[in-house]
Amino acid sequence: MNRKRLHFNFIGRSKIWFIISAVVILTGVIGYFIQGGFNFGIDFLGGTLIEIEFMQDTETEEIRNVLFDIGYGNSIIRQSLTPGQTDSNRYIIQIKGEGKGKEISPGEKTKILDALDEDIGINPQLLQDRTVSPGFGSILIRNALIAIAISLAGILIYVWIRFEFRFGATAIVTLAHDVLVTLGVYAILGREINTSTIAALLTIIGYSLNDTIVVFDRIRENTPQARKMGYAGVVNDSVNMTLTRSINTSITTLFPIVLLLILGTASLKDFALALTIGIISGTYSSIFFASPLLVAWNNRFSKYKK
């Protein structure tokens, strides 16, 4: 072995890493309560969303006033900016209907558009116009949860077969860690959670696992040496051996994703944000969380020499 190579004692400081993870996740939980929950998108909540271009410069306040006058003052109004823009005449308006449903009728929509056109002036060609019935969101959420559950179960079974049960269980806890970190950032930033975010979360699961498995694979390979150097030593060596790879892969994966975060349009940015957080968390967790957890498991239910 090359003595000049860097060698870190990851396992020896397990407590520190666990505390860092706990603090990050806890911050997310606190953020969740301060913000009053997640900011779910229209596809989950139901409702009507229109994106329009005004013919002249306008302000969010001006639009709100127009909507307030005709009884839709509680609409959410956002300016739609493309990268590099500091101002634009494009606005996204999320209208909440009155009565039992959250969506508005075509008649109400016409009324709103007419009022905006009369007072400010709009481009009649809408950029986007979406109406989702409130019940639809619950089906989407249900499907998303099923998708996550099924992929987790599939992963657990696969890792169990290829490795050992403890690896599978540790991997699942690690994935939960990454999903919680990402959701926490979303809660703190008040970023919208929509179907794309769910897809991004599932991708994070896939990516983080990829990272974790590479480390586990090396642990599996080195386990016969546990007799000599103890399980913690084996795990620590394995993490060190795969360290270069873990960092390099994260760098190459982050290059295009971060570029997308900087250059992409609003919807691409949403996606890229989740992936960026997930990749960083996934890299961290494969080094600092999954492996110490595996050692902790072994300390508890000793199978190999401590």
Binding site: N2, D43, E51, P83, S105, P106, Q125, L126, L127, Q128, D129, R130, T131, V132, S133, G135, F136, L140, N143, A147, I148, I150, S151, G154, I155, Y158, V159, R162, T195, S196, I198, A199, A200, L202, T203, G206, Y207, L209, N210, I213, D217, R218, E221, M241, T242, R245, T249, T252, T253, F255, P256, I257, L259, L260, L263, G264, T265, S267, L268, A272
Partner: protein
């Protein structure tokens, strides 16, 4: 020698695949998803009602009818698919100009019914009478609050409409009843609670019950809960009218046509098939003197009086405003009725400019990202970095070729998926190269190091990627629209990157491992010093 042969075959296959990919890239443009090219996506959910359970066969039937109707509207290249998971129908239409009209026509059930018109509701105060309206969306019966009474009369077109019932709202429960014509709601207040209740209950003809899902207001018998009739809008006067049970429906129709009658009025002529003609004849024979309500999608279109038995099975719908509307009604009747009511779950109309922007920005970010990766790989892994660059180029070509070849739709999340898989494609190389280097540092010659490195790395790569494939499969199965597109790109990316790194990179490294340049430790990024 044998290994060499295999390597040549693998490389030859890759050259063939690259050739085919380039062919597809040139000949087939990439299919853009709705979110990128703009258009209208409508997700419709069938509503189950009594006697019309949603089955796969009925969904297929509904999809055929929707396709025919879209065709009739002259919208080209519609995509009507079934979301098998939720039994929803997903419709994608290019462009947005006809979306409003499409929404109107597609969702129409076009259910034609023949029922007997029992009567019409009017409100009366003194000599004044006013029509009563009905809103099927909310199930409310709307009338002048100051009216003395709301009554049901047999025929508002006759000179002397006859009172056949009284509408009464129970103030205690808010339930609406149809009472006998002799019932006086003002007298009722004089009767004591307990005994009074029994007395007024004797006058009940039926109770109105509203179904929130089907938007039907049915008159039910209070004794045995049997359906006596239904409250509908009479489109001629926009009044709430009561009709009896359905006697005949449009599926027995053989042909509908638009035209004028002998008086020059716009009509839709209907002719019935053999069985339908027989039923129609029987209906007219049994109900002479009654009005026959012709109901289209829960609206009474016309209600001619039956003067004599009609044989031959011909009927007309009157009261139509324009010939265009008449031909539209005739057309959707000919295409057929939907086997169930469809409700709009998600209607998404996307202007074309929004997606264009995303696509360009996505491609730009991807290209810059690719260049950065290549620079990083060459600096870090030297000669091996060059080979991984080659592998990456092949990856992009094959990916693009397969997307074009199978006609998979590129969606917004799909772009993000591609960009992510570019990063992951490099990962396989990083794992292999890191391992080769490691073996090299143990003092092995590059040739041996490459062999051993691959052996160890392959297992890791397969394990790591299979788990991503599991996630992609779950996404594909449970996702809709753009998410499905993302799952496809993710799975494709992982599959191709595995093939490229484990087969192509391997073969090319082994092929050239005899060359002096490859044999030098510098090629695998190991310094001479470290060898010792």
């Amino acid at each position: 020698m044998r290994n060499k042969k295999i390597n040549i075959i693998v490389l030859a296959i890759f050259i063939l695949i690259i050739g085919v990919s380039i062919y597809y890239i040139i000949t087939e443009p990439i299919n853009r998803g709705l979110d990128l090219k703009g258009g209208t996506q409508i997700i419709l959910k069938p509503v189950e009602s009594e006697g019309s359970e949603v089955t796969g066969k009925k969904l297929d039937e509904a999809m055929r009818i929707i396709r025919d109707r879209i065709d009739y509207l002259g919208i080209s290249e519609p995509l009507v698919t079934r979301d098998t998971l939720n039994n929803n129908i997903v419709i994608q239409l290019p462009g947005v100009s006809k979306s409003e009209r499409a929404l109107e026509v597609i969702g129409k059930t076009a259910q034609l019914e023949f029922r007997i018109l029992t009567g019409t509701l009017i409100s009366r105060s003194g000599q004044n009478t006013e029509f009563v309206e009905f809103d099927p969306e909310t199930g409310s019966i709307i009338y002048d609050e100051n009216a003395e009474e709301v009554i049901l009369v047999d025929n508002i077109y006759s000179a002397m409409p006859i009172k056949i019932g009284v509408l009464y709202t129970d103030p205690a429960t808010g339930e609406i009843y149809l009472m006998d014509k002799d019932f006086d709601p003002n007298e009722k207040t004089d009767i004591g609670e307990d005994s009074g209740k029994q007395i007024w209950e004797e006058y009940i003809l039926g109770k109105f019950e509203y179904n929130e899902y089907t938007h039907e207001m049915n008159l039910m018998s209070v004794d045995d809960n049997e359906m006596l009739g239904e409250l509908l809008i009479d489109s001629r006067t926009n009044t709430a009218s009561l009709v009896g049970p359905v006697l005949l429906i449009g599926n027995k129709l053989s042909k509908a046509g638009a035209g004028y009658d002998s008086n020059g009025r716009i009509i839709v002529s209907l002719s019935f098939k053999d069985e339908g003609a027989g039923i129609f004849e029987e209906i007219t024979r049994n109900n002479i003197g009654e009005q026959l309500a012709i109901v289209l999608d829960e609206e009474i279109k016309s209600a001619p009086s039956i003067n004599n038995t009609i044989t031959g099975g011909d009927a007309v719908i009157e009261g139509i405003n324009s010939l265009d509307e008449a031909s539209y009604i005739a057309e959707i009747l000919n295409i057929g009725a939907l086997p169930f009511t469809l409700i709009q779950e998600d209607v998404n109309i996307i202007g074309p400019s929004l997606g264009e922007d995303s696509l360009n920005k996505g491609i730009f970010a991807g290209i810059i990202g690719l260049i950065l990766i290549v620079i990083f790989m060459i600096i870090y892994y030297r000669g091996l970095g060059l080979i991984s660059t080659l592998g990456l180029m092949i990856y992009v070509l094959v990916f693009w070729g397969i997307m074009a070849g199978i006609g998979a739709a590129l969606t917004l999340p799909g772009i993000a998926g591609i960009i992510l898989t570019i990063g992951m494609a490099v990962d396989a190389n990083v794992i292999i190269f890191a391992r080769i280097r490691e073996e090299g540092r143990k003092g092995k010659s590059p040739r041996i190091a490459i062999g051993d490195g691959f052996k160890h790395a392959s297992r890791t790569i397969v394990d790591a990627n299979v788990t991503t494939l599991i996630t992609a499969a779950a996404l594909f199965y449970f996702g809709t629209g753009p998410i499905k597109g993302f799952a496809v790109t993710l799975a494709l990316g992982v599959g191709i990157s595995m093939a490229v790194s484990l087969l192509f990179t391997r073969s090319i490294l082994f092929m050239f491992s005899g060359l002096p340049v490859v044999a030098s430790p510098g090629f695998i990024g190991v310094r001479k010093k470290e060898e010792q």
